[in-house]
């Protein structure tokens, strides 16, 4: 479990480095590139609708990916998606169960919905003509 935490942490850090790199050309006259984890986070926000805050997003992402995910990986991805304008966030009041601390609710922006559609379209086109599940004949 610790190994998977480190892996997901490194993976999100790597994606952030790629994002930071000036030679990386996402969103330059082509479909917005979304990684699997980014798609999982965006879809979790869409599923949760008005109840999408960090803790709930973490739960939905873990359920959809069927593996343990660290909080750090989810928050790093949310930061990146927000800096790319793919999600919006607002801060709301806290509850006693959180020691009175506020909640940050996320919603998918128009650019985020477009990016998800593009990713789905690209994936569907890649799979066209290939029967699923893939089998190798011996």
């Amino acid at each position: 479990m610790v190994a998977s935490d480190i892996r997901s942490g490194l993976s999100s850090a790597f994606e952030a480095v790629i994002d930071f790199c000036p030679t990386h050309t996402h969103n330059v006259g082509m479909a917005e590139f979304l990684g699997t984890f980014e798609q999982a986070v965006l879809l979790a926000i869409m599923r949760l609708r008005g109840d999408a805050y960090g803790r709930m997003i973490l739960h939905v992402v873990m359920n959809s990916l069927k593996r343990t995910v660290s909080a750090g990986a989810v928050y790093t991805t949310l930061d990146r998606l927000e800096s790319r304008g793919l999600v919006h966030s607002r801060v709301d009041e806290g509850t006693p169960a959180r020691g009175g601390r506020p909640r940050r609710y996320y919603s998918v922006a128009a650019a985020g919905a477009r990016a998800l559609n593009e990713s789905h379209k690209t994936l569907s086109e890649m799979w066209s003509g290939v029967q699923w599940p893939v089998e190798v004949k011996r």
């Binding site: 935490d5 803790r55 750090g72 169960a97």
Partner: protein, 202 residues
């Protein structure tokens, strides 16, 4: 007394105080309280009742540690470069100290002591970047930065004029000098505003 009892009961189901202190040091900025609140809520409502105290505390610590790379990524380019230089010099100094002990050439005790002393500066810098330091501790970092530049520059000159030029010593002395310079720049910038070293962006 009753209020005190309630506070103790509330505290009993809460995450351990030392780890909460750690996360409050690691996370800074506008959304630190929202993240801490999310973890607190998950700990109290889901993890602690399901796993029990010890395993829940381990879970909480793991989540806190997983937030360290996020803290690093949210820092400015210069501070990330400083962190990289600090980790490099820290690793190099430890490696040199170990090699001195293994090879045991004459004067190895003094040289290992020097390596360990130099390693204290990048170690303090890494701690300052990850956990946010107070203004008083920052003064020591100024002194450390000046010492690093002095040691790095002196070793660089000595090695360049030596008949036995050593590539690794050259590399480390350059890294130490660069780290000292980056520290001075970062500290200078953090002194301009309200942000301390490791807080905000450069």
């Amino acid at each position: 007394m009753a209020g005190g009892g309630q506070a103790v009961n509330a505290r009993l189901g809460s995450p351990p105080r030392p780890i909460e202190w750690l996360i409050e040091r690691i996370l800074v900025g506008a959304d630190s309280q929202t993240v801490i609140g999310d973890l607190h809520e998950e700990y109290v409502e889901a993890v602690r009742p399901r796993l029990g105290r010890v395993r829940a505390d381990i879970w909480y610590l793991r989540q806190v540690l997983s937030l360290v790379p996020r803290g690093v990524l949210r820092q400015g380019r210069m501070r990330r470069a400083l962190l990289a230089a600090s980790l490099f010099t820290l690793g190099s100094c430890c490696w040199l100290a170990v090699m001195e002990w293994v090879l045991r050439h004459s004067g190895y005790l003094f040289r290992s002591a020097m390596d360990v002393s130099i390693a204290a500066v990048p170690l303090a810098t890494v701690a300052a970047l990850l956990l946010h330091v107070s203004a008083r501790a920052e003064r020591w970092l100024w002194a450390g930065a000046v010492a690093l530049i002095a040691v790095g520059a002196q070793t660089l000159i000595q090695n360049t004029h030596s008949p036995h030029f050593e590539g690794f010593v050259f590399l480390i002395s350059v890294a130490i000098t660069v780290e000292g310079a980056l520290m001075l720049l970062s500290l200078g910038r953090s002194g301009e505003g309200t942000h301390r070293l490791g807080r905000g962006s450069s």
